[in-house]
Subunit: 353 residues, 2 copies
């Protein structure tokens, strides 16, 4: 059992007097609270910097934006790398299993702490979108609106399968040491890197990979006929894998992928997704991407159907793009206009200037 | 350099007097020469047992069927686990890189050895199909007909990406030891198992995984909220991975995946796939599967277009199935009728009773 948790979060903009302009951003599997700030380890811009700022879609002159590291994460919120007060050692695998519901409960505690009665909007992509759906189901009165992007109400068999490959890659690394690697001076770099590589392939569409790399060679004119990275797509993946391990904790990766696998909102409501949203007054904007094969449009449509059955106020847009699942992290013009338009009209209903 | 190679092969049926009834079967990445025999390590039936035998599609009362282990393999044909006569030790990574062209040249040497002037048909799925295309391009006069199934004339960026994940998983395993593991008593079981798991997900369609497993639990009524295989799809994948390492050599896996990545038939002909088949008299039957996302129908159509441009005799069938790439290894009824019908009419042209 965990007696106490820490939450790490960033805010952008200012909370207005009647506390009606707060937006909660829920980050994805490997995201963090640095949504629009320089990430301290990579030194790169935040994952939604193009969305957040003065005059941007998430206008910091109008909205107060909160983004917290998820429970189980590795950027300040309690996770497996933190010290278990009962033992004085890092939790490792002694941390209780964490669900999307737990992540959202922790965010609700943060909301109470910030004295925000309800969110103007709860928003996020991929696993962030799972949290959005969980928020709208568990705390409908705290969500004036909800924007789940590139997500699903449950993890599919194929998605569980890819996650299991990643977890096995981590656990196969002898440096993982059953999860007790923190004090050893070694960590499962190779295993986590392979896990990241496998996952990264699923974030891109086949056509995006083809357009971006095709069979182009890496800094050479001819094939070397060896096991070096001859093809650009190989060196790109290796780069993705190697850089990831510097900023992410392997045990966090295990816990968070597991939380996604366990997510099945309907099963918590007798198998009916519509019941998960019964009586809701939240306004929904559901967004999917045509080339996303990890969270395909059909799964967003399942959510939309359930919301319709619950007589919810819902708009749905499938955005045409060949960029795959990763499109929600890219400055995809139609995503900006869709979310911008939704926030604009929702702000009017809410009476936000 | 390799001075000498061994070829391991099986035959089924009897070569007729005018040597006109020989069929060459080309196996896939993890296949072997035990196409219709009990696999000696697993004890299981051969990978095309349902196709081969008296009265079956590949009727052993009519045809003489040859299936050899590919060059670079690990079931008797020269590969990385064999002894390098120059050093007296296993080749390991000292084996020269092998291409699909090399595999086919080795099969042509076997053909000469068997004194078969030309094949009635050359046939195979996935990497087997790549060999079929290479055969038809390099030795058109030796191929009366060709049946490439679930394949492509080049490996796509996405396919290279998945292979690279698998290779990195093997190489990340400390027991791989730079490829020199044969005499150590240890081999990269964990890494090869992860590679197999990652590849196996790509062999099935999303809908096949959903139909076969969905979110069903493994021998339990409730989630355990841990890292055991709670979901059936997880234990299925683990089983696939663990069993694979008993029958396959990790270095072979590296060499063979690399051969597939390097395959690009058009690039050997000035970028024109049609030129690869110029002047061919071979009859083609190209088969794809609607739910195969690893070798999608569009890639078979590229082959068909090139064959049409080369004025080849070609029939093409996309088979409707939700079984994904693996469909060519399953008793898919429409595949049986398609190949059966093609062989029947081709046998008539050839004058085989």
């Amino acid at each position: 059992m965990m007696s106490d948790i820490s939450m790490a979060y960033n805010t952008y903009g200012t909370l207005n007097e009647d506390k009606s302009n707060a937006i909660l951003l829920c980050h994805a599997l490997t995201g963090d609270q640095y949504a629009a700030s320089r990430q301290p380890i990579t030194g790169k811009d935040g994952w939604w910097s193009f969305m957040i700022g003065p005059g941007k879609i998430l206008d910091t002159d109008r909205y107060f934006i909160v983004c917290s590291n998820i429970l189980g994460g590795c950027m300040g919120t309690t996770g497996p790398l933190d010290i278990d007060p009962d033992t004085g050692k890092p939790y490792g695998l002694n941390l209780p299993m964490i669900t999307i519901g737990d992540m959202v409960r922790a965010q609700a505690l943060l909301q109470d702490y910030l004295e925000i009665p309800d969110w103007f909007a709860v928003m996020g992509g991929s696993m962030g979108g799972m949290q959005v759906l969980q928020w709208a189901s568990a705390y409908p009165e705290r969500c004036f609106s909800a924007v789940p992007i590139a997500t699903a109400a449950k993890h599919s068999a194929q998605n569980i399968a890819f996650h299991e490959v990643g977890r096995q890659a981590v656990m196969a690394d002898p440096d993982w040491q059953g999860g007790n690697y923190y004090e050893s001076g070694r960590k499962p770099r190779a295993g986590l890197s392979v896990a990241r590589m496998a996952a990264h392939v699923t974030y891109l569409s086949e056509s995006a990979l083809h357009r971006k790399f095709g069979r182009n060679l890496q800094d050479r004119e001819d094939l070397t006929y060896g096991f070096d990275a001859d093809f650009q797509v190989e060196s790109y993946l290796r780069y993705q894998g190697i850089n990831f391990v510097d900023r992410f904790d392997a045990n966090s990766y295990l816990y968070i992928t597991r939380a996604m696998d366990y997510f099945d909102l309907a099963s918590d409501h007798g198998g009916s997704l519509a019941k998960a949203f019964a009586g809701t007054n939240t306004r929904f904007c559901v967004v999917s991407f045509s080339s996303d094969w990890l969270f395909p449009t059909s799964e967003s449509k399942d959510v939309v159907r359930a919301l319709n059955a619950a007589a919810a106020n819902v708009s749905f847009v499938e955005i045409e793009t060949d960029k795959g699942h990763d499109a929600f992290l890219l400055e995809t013009p139609e995503m900006l206009t869709t979310i911008g338009g939704f926030l604009e009209s929702t702000a009017k209903s809410r009476g936000i200037a």
